[in-house]
Amino acid sequence: MRIIKYLTVFLISLLLADQGVNLVLERLYAQTMTGQSGGKVNYLLKNFDHLSTLSIGNSRCAHHVIPEVISDQTYNLSHNGMTLIYHVGLIDQLLRYENIQIDTILLHLEREEIFGEKKNAEKDIQHLKYFYNKNPWIQKKISGLSRFEFIKYFFSTYKWNGKVMSVVNNWIKSQLLNAPPPPKGYVSNPPSGRDSINVSWDYQRLSKIRGAEPGEHLAPEFKDNIEYLNALCKEKKITLICFTSPVYQPVLKNRNAKMDNYFKNLSVPFLNFYDINDDDFQSIWLWKDTYHLNSDGALLFSKILRRDLNQLLAEKLNEKK
């Protein structure tokens, strides 16, 4: 009897503490307007109810696409290190459960994730734990990661797992230090004197890895996610455009046809800038490292992206007419 009493007290205390901490974190999260742990999403939803273009992808997209260059109503909702499943989850949440209208989604992809070279890419969905009880698609994907995953969500605080420090840090920046959020989600990478050294060093280090050919076939997980997103965009009458961005001294030049064919069959426009035939992008002065352009490079790239995007949208409009 004493044991049951003790275990009951322990469990009740744990549940109460769990609810209390969750309440505090919910408050902090709602007030956060900067950073990647909710800040970018909150800022978007608070300041926009309509977007002409939503650009989304990983850190390369965050640093490469300058929203102002694309259009006035463009927002860059990229999150560092995240793969396709994360972006699809986030878009699903925005389109189905939030009050925002979007005309075009500009989705940044990496060749590694298209051909399944990125290990454990599907696990990135766990970074959307916050939406577990709010979004069935995200819940299904997270639950699919392991048999008993759902049990962890019995505790409300688990949705903050791994994010607490970022939430607190971003709340302090937003509320106490009044740090301005990045303009329309764009994270600028200003050029510095060390860039060329970093690029050369990075190029040498990565040359072995980058020499390897990617897989033969498009990854099934990639196909599942992109096809789900395509269907969602069609349902919501949104134009989905996929693109890749340049790298410094690209080595992998094959597989373009495979990607082109796949997107053609899917009727999704695909702009492949990975090995863009433009000498400017081979200048070491435009790069932070071999994968990330600095703000000068981003400006050049965004202009090219805008040009091709406008052309594409004009063609689409003509097709409709």
Partner: protein, 468 residues
Amino acid sequence: MIFNSIDFILFFLVITTLFFFSKPKYRWTLLLAASYFFYMYWKWEFIFLIIFSTLIDYYCGMQMSGKDQKRERLPYFLISLFSNLGLLFLFKYLDFFTQSTNVLLGTAIPMANLILPMGISFYTFQTLSYSIEIYQSKSKCEPHLGKFALYVSFFPQLVAGPIERASHLLPQFQTNENRLRYHNVVSGLTQVVLGFFKKVVIADTIAIYVNSIYGTYELYTGFTLLFATYLFAIQIYCDFSGYSDIAIGCSRILGYDLMENFKQPYFSKSVTEFWRRWHISLSTWLRDYLYISLGGNRKGKLFTYRNLMLTMLLGGLWHGSSWNFVIWGLLNGIYLAVEKRTNFNRWITEQSRAIQLLSMVMIFHLICLTWVFFRAETFAKTIGILEGIFTTEYFFNLQIKDTGVFATLLITTVSFFLLEIFILRNINIKNLDQQLGTWKLTGLKVTMCLFILLFGVSEGSQFIYFQF
């Protein structure tokens, strides 16, 4: 099955419930079935190795028990020794020796590439301790095959210890008096929660940082590599002692007492003391069955140093089949021999607290040096990391990588050390409920649970010592 998974938590809840609702006479059956299930959850085929080991040692034990003369017992002891070590050699060391032979003699003997069965070093040493004790007439043999099988495979400590002695664990399976006791449940649960906290909050968070630095060590110098090594020292301690805590806590809830495996080793003032506080079940095993068997300190100074070096070298090889582990063992052997020669261990106890504190810091650094060999996969990598640490250029250029992870690891590690310094150093975890009182202990446990929920790495990574 790994401890840090929901699968294990559910498994343990079911087994505990069934255990206390079943007839005491048949509880060993339940525990044996559960232990085999626990092991087969990883790879069912390898259960046959455990069964083979069990049958051989049971047979040898039974044969030895009837013989009065050591000489008569010897053949059976040798059968047990060679079959256990043979299995260990086949799965763990064969490829290492093949590779070393190929390198040294320029031959091209093909590698066996066998999968290393989880925890093989642990259960092999546990069964060996049974055979040795019977051979030395220190223990009686276990006539009940089922209970002996349970001793070999008892699930809480099957894959990563503590390595139990037959004389300590086997008698506990004979009694049918295991009742659900308040003190056992409260202190056992506390130790389990502490174990999870150490593993998923501290060790796994640190692992993210250490893996990224050690994985691309060429990019870093000085303090970054040194800091990663300090963190690895904390990681391996929390990882391994976390496992031991969960094992001991789970066993205590069921009413079984396992030996203590760690006693705040980084507060040691000498390497000798460190080895009395680190992986106690292995270090005492090596002391009792190897060091003393080799003659210990009874045959003069030179033999003592030789015995120390040999014991630690084999201790190194026990951890893994690579030259890095050999060097790791040798380094520890050298430390112990030097301390023995200079009588440092006694000298330091007579010094002021300031000098003792200084010694603690020095010992921590000496141990950290050995961890570089332990953590780096190859000798070349170890040299690269050591060179990097001693590079003065950009020495203080500390790479933080992910700020969220870094902040988390700092906060959780500092909280843990405060817990160790102010609570666990003074009060044995078994008596925490009596010393702290129910409310304070509940508060402590709830806080640790919240840390696990908020900061724990939830992907269920393996314990480092599972590979040994």
